[in-house]
Amino acid sequence: MSQHNDTPSSHYFVPEPSPWPFIAMFAMFALLAGTALIINDIGFGNVLVTLGALLLTYMLYGWFRDVVGENLSGQYNHQVDRSFRQGMYWFIASEVFFFASFFGALYYIRNIAVPWLGGAGYLGTSALLYSQFTGDWPTAGPGDLGGDLTPMGAWGIPALNTMLLLSSGATLTWAHWGLKLNNQKTLVRGLIATITLGLLFVGFQAYEYQHAFAELNLTLASGVYGSTFYILTGFHGMHVTLGAIMLIAILGRSMKGHFSPRNHFAFEAVAWYWHFVDVVWLGLFIFVYMV
């Protein structure tokens, strides 16, 4: 609260009652209850999931439409902007910790669980069980679940994907630069380039999965190597897809001229998110593919 004239808290924007959170309850319930039914092969799960997904889309559209409208009509002061920014920081922080649980699991499995099964330590289990198991990585475990697999190399598609994602970070910064200079053309071109690179990344990732399933016999069921590989790359890919959808929305808003050099929180929030998935990918490239 440094500048009194700039942001008196008496003008802090408090929205009128909004239906969207209440609608979100039904959407989330239908989506998750439906998923629980589908994975247990119960028929009407599909219906619930479809309804939930439609309702969620409607809710998100309506909620963001309200927020954009309020922003364009100038109801948000500097203090509201700061609330949004800080909210986004901590949302990304929680996402970092979500990925930390998967990276932590990978660390634990590679450095503690698998060596332990291979006989390391004074309580190593291989003396009693699995005497043939040596605990090398990658492994499908002492039971060799899923049969022989070929591990995914780092220098083919993954290296290409690293380049794609890193360049997309650069093109996004280029777009931001254009926005700050009020250069609409650079902004739109930068965003289109970023989205293209992001979608290419997702495409290559899908191709890599198909290749892994069909030719490398590397599936979700391929022991703990397959498990960690797919959960880390899968959740990352999901986040890239989500980020790309968010970027497309931002592109649409940019073309409508919603952003000004001084007022473009939504652009920055999505950019932070994009850089966050970028950094997670670097972690993946090092710890899942290379090491």
């Binding site: 408090v14 929205p15 009652p17 309850m25 634990y108 099964l117």
Partner: protein, 530 residues
Amino acid sequence: MSTTASALHSEHEHHPYGWRRWLFSTNHKDIGTLYLLFALTMFFLGGLSAMAIRAELLYPGLQMLDPDLYNNILTNHALIMIFGAVMPAGAGIANWMIPLMIGAPDMALPRLNNLSFWILPAAAMMLVLSFIVPFFPGGGTQVNTGWTLYPPLSVQVGMSMDFLIFAIHLLGISSVLASINIIVTILNMRAPGMTMFKMPIFCWAWFVTAFLLILVVPIIAGGVTMLLFDRHFGTSFFNAAGGGDPVLFQHLFWFFGHPEVYILILPAIGALAQVIPAFSRKPLFGYKSTVGSMLVIATLGMVVWAHHQYTIGMSLGTVSYFMIGTILISIPVGLIIFNFIATMWRGAMTFETPMLFATAMVLLFSFGGLTGVMLAVIPADVQYHDSMFVVAHFHYVLIPGAIYGLFAAVFYWLPKWTGHMYDEKLAKIFFWVNMISFNITFFPQHFLGLAGMPRRIIDYNVIFAEFNFLSSVAGLIYGFSHLLFLYIIIKAIRGGQQAKNKVWEGATGLEWELPSPPPFHSWETAPKIK
């Protein structure tokens, strides 16, 4: 502190009416009320399951439940109480009080605030479904894992486990969003002059708690996601044959589960730091050391999780680290308790109901903390673990700790919320019945545990019969005493003596400068803090 009079105007009060006011709310007070009513409902649901457990344990042998149903009820009791009652109650009080205490017009992100609330009923429906699905044809087996959900058992449970996993996801999303809101509100919405170190301790307690939630809830979300994949998509995270390790889940669970204990207790400690000075008519002794202690508790609390897993076969060095770290936490906790006692020292103390609960919390929570130090000692824990001693320990921490702290907060602020004084006489009766029956319920369980009675088992050896009988009878009295609590609350909502702005003579803080109940929109013009 002084306020501008314009903030107190209530004649231009325009608020939405009818169902839209509640379902579509963007008002921190209404959302706080919703949270509190939700928590109260879940508290009674969780209490009902506890009554079923104690009724079953009244005598040795099987009384009315079968073992699977007993374990199902046990699991649901824990999850409903922790995620449905205590956490939402804390969040409800935070919603009500933080903006009033820091002079903010509302929470920083009011619509998000309502989303945090409305995810809870969805999660509660999923929890209830996980309980009842097994009773439908083709519904699979019952959840019999306890709230810890350890694999491999949790991989083998029927589809109700999937509902439970998704309920945990929803509860996690709700907590993280609420925490983001609380952090942003505290960082960004304080009235001019309200520096961080002038802020009431209750706000500090929630600030620390919110960080803990953001850091640890995503870890359990990841953990149960892996569990879901192991159950349905053939992965081997927790399957040794595939190279995984069931112990990995324990680490992920307790990395969340231990800080969760502080998530439950810190808001209660924060409430006590408001109540005790008010009824001792002295400022809090050691404001900064209390804040510092909470920060140390949160930091240490993040790195001692494996003291729940001494018997899994970690190396001696590892378990020693976890033991020492755990015992170290008693230093900041002890410091807070010391500060509370020093605040009371030579104060002009009176014992209205909030202070009764606060005093009981100081005494009994310390006792629960001491048995915690016993459990932290490795060779002792190897004997005590999975016994009724553990049950007694954490109920001494969570009931006189978290729940008495919440009761103290509720009675302290109820006149502010409703505008009416509660029935002090009934409330005191409630306190004494509740406190005495609580102790008779849980104190004997220490002896049962030390004598070797295992926990989470429907039947027990006849040598444990007397203490179990005593515990059950007192437990049923304890459970029913909460009906009195419900009556007192309803009575205060419906009417009673009009509460003054400043309900308690010794209370300090911005919330007491507003009318009781505060107008729908408060602090639209920020108060000036000297």
